[in-house]
């Protein structure tokens, strides 16, 4: 069972719709028990960093989430803001992140010929897969993914970088550390390309 964590700041409906479409067993989790019993987790997130962390904190789900991810090593997929939470913090706010990955979120900053680029980075873009892994198996050719964000993660350890994407400059659009994976883009809104990523996540052996 894949539990989509609902702490009030994510597009849980979209993710549930797509998991249903691919026939994966999934549920929306608002209580610690459901999270404790899940064998995979999805952490969505839409909105501002601090208010998201605050919601996650006050949801009462953090202790079980930490226990399952850090203790039991349950695979987790963080999406958009959910991925940014995996890091240590963000330029967007003052609250610390979960600290699972040595990464920080910064705002897009353009100069020179790129100065006119719009923020947020909103639309379809490509990703370059920087290291082999199960989540990008059997991808359709010319895959593209939907992005909408103003902040992106930076991490000094290249071993954590799963995918990169170029908007003005190349940035980290996917991170990985063992059973922890995060994407800045929205696979749940990326047609058959995102569907394949979810299929791969659902098929990953626990």
């Amino acid at each position: 069972m894949i539990a989509i964590i609902d702490y009030g700041m994510g597009n849980v409906g979209s993710i549930a719709n797509m998991l249903r479409k691919i026939g994966a067993e999934a549920c929306i989790a608002r209580d610690p028990e459901t999270i404790a019993n899940a064998d995979k987790l999805v952490l969505p997130g839409v909105g501002a960093f601090d208010s998201g962390m605050e919601k996650l904190d006050s949801s009462g789900l953090l202790p079980v989430l930490r226990e399952r991810v850090q203790g039991a090593k349950v695979p987790i997929l963080g999406l958009c803001l959910g991925m940014q939470f995996f890091g240590t913090g963000s330029e967007e706010g003052s609250r610390p992140g979960l600290g699972w990955i040595d990464a920080r979120s910064v705002r897009f900053a353009f100069d020179g010929p790129q100065a006119g680029l719009k923020i947020p980075h909103m639309g379809w873009n490509h990703v370059s897969v920087e290291q082999p892994g199960p989540l990008f198996a059997n991808m359709p050719v010319d895959s593209r993914f939907y992005f909408v964000h103003s902040y992106h993660v930076v991490c000094s350890d290249p071993g954590l970088v799963l995918t990169t994407t170029t908007y003005g400059y190349p940035f980290v659009s996917g991170v990985v550390k063992g059973h922890i994976t995060g994407f800045q883009f929205h696979p749940e809104k990326s047609h058959r390309f995102g569907m394949q990523v979810f299929r791969n996540f659902a098929a990953m052996s626990v």
Binding site: N17, L117, P120, M122, G123, R144, V148, H186
Partner: protein, 258 residues
């Protein structure tokens, strides 16, 4: 680099899909769920649904229908129409809508845009701006489905909405709506030049080249259209259509997307 978005803008009226001309004469064009399934198969970049009677008739957004629509949408989905409070927005996001479009309420209460952006993040809040030319050609923001004049200047209002926290502006020309005579490029240019957030151009697209011009000449970040994607010319027979990704890529190849 990012690909320019091309967005079908679909209008709802009494749970059916309609298309208007200059915001009037709604013509029934079919079942929205069926249309979504077709657009999904065609892998559209994004879909915008606007309920054109919700606000004027003081109705809530059609949540049940939107839930069905969202369950078939594997691309970003925006919805506008009848959104009057933050709880409406929470409900829409939980159904699977990505972005909520604010129109009448944004003009009546700019503070609402700020509260929405603070709660849900700017990138989930679109302000749509309907512009109509007055008798002597001066453009003006209108609300309530084009029924109410506000006296507001579109460029000044766009800046105000960006400052209030709108993550995207959906700029619609009432005079061009449904005419398929091309976008109001000077209007698009003026607004794009005044704001830093993405501007989606809507109203008037009659050909693929119009889409290209909205971006290449107007400076829009994305091009939206209604008639172009629901009618087949020359007789306006209903035909849900959308160009393949490769065609769109070639179309915008020479355009530096912003």
């Amino acid at each position: 680099m990012i690909q320019t978005r091309v967005i079908p803008c679909l209008l709802l009226r009494n749970l059916g899909l309609v298309k208007t001309v200059r915001f009037r004469k709604p013509t029934y064009v079919g079942d929205p769920i069926n249309a979504v399934k077709i657009f999904n198969d065609k892998e559209v970049d994004e879909l915008v649904f606007l309920d054109i009677t919700a606000t004027p008739e003081r109705k809530k957004p059609p949540f049940e229908l939107l839930s069905k629509i969202a369950s078939q949408c594997f691309m970003p989905l925006s919805y506008g129409g009848g959104v009057r409070d933050l709880d409406d927005m929470t409900t829409l996001f939980s159904l699977g809508v990505e972005k909520v479009v604010l129109n009448s309420i944004a003009a009546e209460d700019p503070g609402f845009v700020r509260r929405a952006a603070d709660r849900f993040g700017s990138s989930s809040v679109i302000v749509s701006i309907d512009v109509k030319k007055r008798f002597f050609g001066k453009p003006e923001v209108v609300t309530q489905g084009g029924r109410r004049k506000t006296g507001l200047d579109p460029v000044r209002f766009s800046v105000q909405m960006e400052e209030a926290g709108a993550g995207e502006l959906f700029l619609n020309s009432v005079d061009r709506d449904g005419t398929m005579e091309g976008y109001d490029l000077p209007l698009i240019r003026q607004v794009v030049g005044a704001v830093g957030v993405p501007v989606v151009a809507c109203g008037g697209a009659g050909s693929a080249d119009d889409l290209r011009r909205a971006v290449a000449d107007g400076g829009a970040s994305a091009a939206a259209a209604g008639s172009l994607f629901v009618f087949q010319m020359p007789h306006r027979a209903v035909l849900i259509n959308y160009p393949p990704a490769q065609v769109l890529r070639d179309l915008f190849r020479s355009t530096e997307s912003r």
